[in-house]
């Protein structure tokens, strides 16, 4: 047998092996190219996706900001008190030693509970010259079922105050809580009922009915809601006695807090 290294067949095998090596190398290069291409596509896709995210967020911020900006020319009620950015109505003597801030929604059942329990006590304290009551209206319980009653009620209250003053606001406020429709099953008071209570509270001006029906202070109601949010109020009723949140919402709790604040 000849030297295997000189075997021509063996030489052919060598060539084949070389070809295989070259093919493998080419395949590896092709795979690397494909991987590079994939990587580029991923980077490109990621960049496009990131751009889409940024653009969508910016567009949303611009659109939603314009949707929430309130009309500066919107009607504002007369008779609001100082210090509430035009969203509060105050009753009681100016030299009263204690200030009680009330944040309420006319549709809120817990507010009615508070009014039933301590409302008359609070008003007696105001009449006695001990407290000044600052009413902050809120409107966040609008629904299709109650035909946006929270907004309609607060608008009507502003109409009453604007035409007949803060004391009429208080009377109207008491009437609405005494006749509060059920939050879950009620359909809100009708505009006719609101007009009737406004009249009962002393708002008899000729524009009162129209202003109630036309939601003339609708934009102002939105502003009032935002103001309460900016004041840090997140629940109703929120009762502040000289700025301190009242936790015991009973008549006794209110009286005790007012006494502590005035002494």
């Amino acid at each position: 047998m000849a030297d295997p290294n000189k075997n021509p067949a063996r030489g052919a095998g060598k060539k084949a092996a070389a070809r295989e090596r070259i093919a493998a190398k080419r395949a590896a290069e092709a795979a690397a190219r494909a991987a590079e291409q994939r990587r580029r596509r991923t980077v490109l896709g990621g960049a496009v996706a990131a751009a889409v995210v940024v653009i969508a967020v910016v567009v949303a911020i611009v659109v939603q900001t314009s949707r929430t900006s309130t009309d500066a020319d919107a009607a504002r009620p007369d008779g609001t008190s100082a210090g509430g950015n035009g969203y509060t109505f105050t009753v009681g003597q100016a030299d009263a030693p204690v200030t009680v801030d009330l944040y309420e929604d006319f549709q809120c059942p817990n507010c009615k509970d508070f009014e039933d329990a301590a409302g008359s006590t609070l008003e007696q304290l105001a009449e006695a010259g001990t407290v000044q009551i600052v009413y902050h209206g809120m409107a966040f319980l609008d629904s299709s079922q109650n035909d946006d009653y929270s907004t309609r009620a607060l608008n009507a209250a502003a109409v009453v105050a604007s035409s007949a003053g803060s004391d009429a606001y208080e009377t109207f406020h008491d009437l609405l809580y005494a006749n509060q429709p059920d939050e879950r099953t009620g359909s809100g008071l009708t505009d006719d009922q609101l007009v009737a209570y406004a009249e009962q509270a002393g708002a008899t001006g000729e524009d009162v009915a129209a202003d109630i029906r036309d939601l003339v202070y609708g934009e102002w109601v939105k502003g009032a809601e935002d103001q309460a949010s900016k004041d840090g109020v997140t629940g109703t009723p929120t009762v502040l006695v000289d700025g301190t949140k009242l936790t015991d919402l009973s008549a006794a709790g209110l009286t005790a807090a007012v006494q502590a604040a005035s002494s």
Binding site: R41, A49, A60, T65, M138, E225, D226, S229, T236
Partner: protein, 157 residues
């Protein structure tokens, strides 16, 4: 063996759950931007100038991350983003809870004011923690069935 068959389907389920929740949660915050602003403000964590952009931008982020998960593109990135969102939400809700604020998380629209005693912090924390774990698992094992990226970029092996 069987886990190799099951795991991609679990990842698909995770994608649909997480993506669905995020898209719904984001979409519900868009119709009433004023409410969204109040919901963010109610946490009392951000300066007033930042409240608006966060209230308007966050829902869009939720929707986009959710959509990526639903259709199955950039799944790992989206899962990480979802996990980050959940951590942010958990931090917000926990801090509101710890500070005794009476707010609704506003997670699915709404938010801000609630009547006394109507907070739901424990449930909100449990839900967000569960979603965080799902997002982390998906970030670890993002390969799933019925993903658009599988068609664009077949994964072998």
């Amino acid at each position: 063996m069987s886990s190799d068959l099951v795991r991609p389907w679990l990842a698909t389920a995770a994608r649909l759950l997480l993506g669905g929740v995020l898209v719904v949660a984001g979409a519900l915050k868009l119709p009433d931007p004023a409410e969204a602003v109040r919901a963010v403000r109610a946490y009392r964590l951000l300066p007033e100038a930042v409240v608006g952009p966060v209230a308007f931008g966050l829902p869009v982020l939720e929707i986009l991350v959710g959509l990526a998960l639903l259709v199955g593109v950039f799944v790992r990135t989206a899962a990480v983003a979802a996990a980050v969102l959940m951590v942010v939400f958990l931090a917000g809700v926990s801090s509101a809870w710890a500070r005794g604020l009476q707010i609704d998380c506003g997670c699915f629209g709404g938010g801000g004011e609630v009547a006394a005693g109507q907070t739901a912090y424990p449930w909100e924390v449990v839900r967000d923690t569960a979603l965080l774990l799902v997002a982390l698992a998906l970030a670890r094992w993002p390969h799933s069935r019925l993903a658009l990226s599988n068609r664009l970029e077949p994964v072998h092996g």
